[in-house]
Symmetry: C2
Subunit: 424 residues, 2 copies
């Protein structure tokens, strides 16, 4: 079905569309303005809805850790009393499953959202749209978004809901919002690529909210000390802000005819991308190609896919597209500085341009490669690189590494583009 508002084939100039999509991405101005429960702010959310990562699928298609994570979400939210009850409710459609991206949100790994979970509300002040992401659960390898649900996971999620989120939310509101682009740009000068490394961004964000936090302590607001110490210990705290900022930035890219990638995500079944010129359609392929480093005691055959939408950061020119900012990552995800630098350079071959704000000190402050052009991916056969955490088949994080988006997604996307707009 052809969208009636789009120009018909032959009228489209792909290069001009890409220029405009890139311009919107590059001028995005994401501010975190609030923290609120998903159920209260995500458009169209309802109490019996659980969101998860990747292109939408029916219940029976969810397997392994991602299926476990959905069940865990239902139990955490009290939508079912037992595991079996949850399974029956999902199968019967009494609990609905949604795709995060369809609700303006992005999910980390399995990417579970339930109604009570607090989300960062990130407003793109150049474009007026909003992106969301929920909170990091903490360092413990057993986390709901890695397919685990037990008493400890439950307790940590509840602690986010009742203590961390209210405090961080109040600080953000007292400040009238915090501009995220300057924090991210600065973190790139401080060894982060703001996907798998957020050590600088997390401490810089803490510093941003400090004036409000000090006032809150003076005013006797409860939980502030505990929250600030939690932030101090959790170098990944900022990832969720980075993801929400990236989502709010990438959602502004929609321009008919553009061949730039506006989203990348995966589920337990496979990888998928969206093009800025083709609206909300997903173009699916097999699971990503990976190369990683495992935590001690784990083996390669344990690696499993249970979803992930943090590649929204690569979509806006961060993460794998800014790896040369973060040589320390070699410690966490393997590889050598030389390989990381070379991989980062390679990404310039498949993008529309250099980022005007996110810059790489090691490349003499050249802007990060930004705006993946599906045409260039097919022409060069250079596949987009992403930094990710690796999940184990028994749940939990077992390592980290890089993945590559499969070529099939770009083939499917460009076939649809040709069908819609003709040869470009």
């Amino acid at each position: 079905m052809v969208n009636a508002t789009l120009p018909s084939s032959g009228e489209i100039c792909v290069d001009a569309a890409n220029d405009e999509a890139f311009r919107r991405l590059d001028t995005a101005d994401p501010w975190v303005v609030d923290v609120a429960p998903a159920g209260a702010v995500l458009p169209g959310y309802h109490d019996r809805l659980v969101l998860t990562s990747g292109a939408p699928m029916p219940w029976h298609a969810y397997t392994g850790g991602q299926r476990e994570a959905l069940i865990g979400g239902a139990l955490f939210e009290g939508l079912a009393g037992t595991r079996d009850e949850a399974i029956r409710a999902f199968a019967a459609g009494d609990i609905e499953i949604g795709s995060c991206h369809d609700y303006g949100a992005v999910g980390s790994l399995a990417g579970i959202y339930t109604a009570s979970m607090p989300v960062f509300v990130v407003e793109n002040r150049s474009h007026g749209n909003i992106g969301y992401c929920n909170f990091y659960e903490g360092k413990e390898p057993r986390r709901l978004n890695y397919g685990c649900y037990d008493a400890g996971v439950h307790e940590r999620l509840l602690h986010v809901n009742t203590t961390l989120a209210p405090v961080v939310g109040e600080a953000i509101r007292r400040l009238g919002g915090v501009a995220l682009k300057p924090v991210i740009a600065r973190a790139l000068r401080m060894g982060d690529e703001v996907h798998s490394r957020n050590a600088a961004a997390s401490v810089l964000f803490t510093r941003e909210i400090l004036p409000a936090v000090l006032d809150m302590v003076a005013d006797g607001v409860p939980g502030v000390r505990e929250t600030m110490l939690h932030l101090a210990e959790n170098d990944y705290f900022f990832l969720r802000l980075s993801m929400a900022a990236a989502k709010a930035s990438a959602d502004a890219m929609v321009v008919p005819g553009s061949t730039l990638v506006s989203a990348m995500a995966f589920s337990c079944r496979g990888f998928a991308i969206k093009l800025a010129g083709l609206g909300d359609r997903w173009f699916e392929g097999p699971p990503p190609i990976h190369e990683g480093k495992l935590f001690a005691g784990h083996t390669e055959d344990e690696i499993t896919w249970m979803g992930g939408e943090s590649p929204i950061t690569e979509t806006v020119g961060l993460g794998g597209f800014a790896q040369a900012c973060a040589p320390s990552l070699q410690d966490y995800q393997g590889g050598s500085p030389e390989v990381m630098i070379e991989r980062n350079r390679q990404m310039y071959r498949i993008v529309h341009g250099d980022n005007g704000h996110y810059r790489i000190p090691l490349f003499e402050f050249r802007g990060t490669p930004t705006g993946i052009d599906a045409r260039k991916v097919l022409a060069t056969n250079v596949l987009p690189v992403m930094d990710v955490g690796l999940a184990g088949r028994d749940g939990g994080q077992i390592g980290a590494g890089i993945i590559r988006a499969p070529r099939a997604c770009f083939e499917a996307a460009m076939a649809a583009h040709h069908a819609r707009f003709g040869a470009s």
Copy 2:
């Protein structure tokens, strides 16, 4: 005069002495444990003493900005009512001039200390010795340590004495001290070399004292908010902690016969070094060789030397010896990432070993080149590189860049070493 406690010529094994000096440097464990007025804690301090950077000189040898800084120090401390009175008092010896290093301290640029100025007290817990450094005056280019003294400089110094130092001191005491080596090691992974770039270390230090700070706010301690916001805005705050930590570490290196450098400093007259094997003697040479980048509106001929002891950081394997950690510095002090990396690699040719704690992510976490060996400097003619701020002849900071220690210092030092210990 031969020190009676030192073994006589022929009994010394220089390599073994260097191993021991390096070991002491590498195992140093500097903790900031207090903040107190210089007059109260620096050994041998008295009320009419003003300290300054570099090997000791008589009053008439101080010229230009360093002379102005001494006069400014006397006026700030109320040791003289007017400029002329101060000059007469210095000339008559009514105000005494001391060399910072002789009092366990190190000075930034002109390095002025007066009795009321608060200093960080840094204890080397492996060795029991203490190093000191006073506070950063703030971002304003006109600062006492850059040879300026006026109402604004006076006010900012007073603000350090009355607000910033008491708050930071109380936070440090409440915590029972803060270990500096982990902060420095971590900052090296976050784009600092902890001499001319301290952006990460400053925010990490803020995070270290946060638990105490939050308690102090709850307890109604005055000045906390103001102090924390000052810290948040001043990326150079940590430099003085880095310098005090380096001084406390380097002072433990004294081992008879060692040819490792235990201090580097300069005055308006020239550069000077100490050797770990020759105690407190300075070996002087001409001013350093420089290469820099000037702030807009300034020219090369304005550059002047008014002292500097921050090269104590290079003495312990930081700053110029960790430049490859800090590609962002190119913005501030010129050069390219390639040049910085190459310069950093070059330093391995003149040192005793690789640092066991301070590591360079870009070199696959190789330890920073540490323990400058005067023999190797002469043999290779590779001169130690340092990152420094550049002062203008009319006072104030006018740029930043790198300097090289002059060969003459190493020739003088090794001549004295040969005279004392024989050919090595």
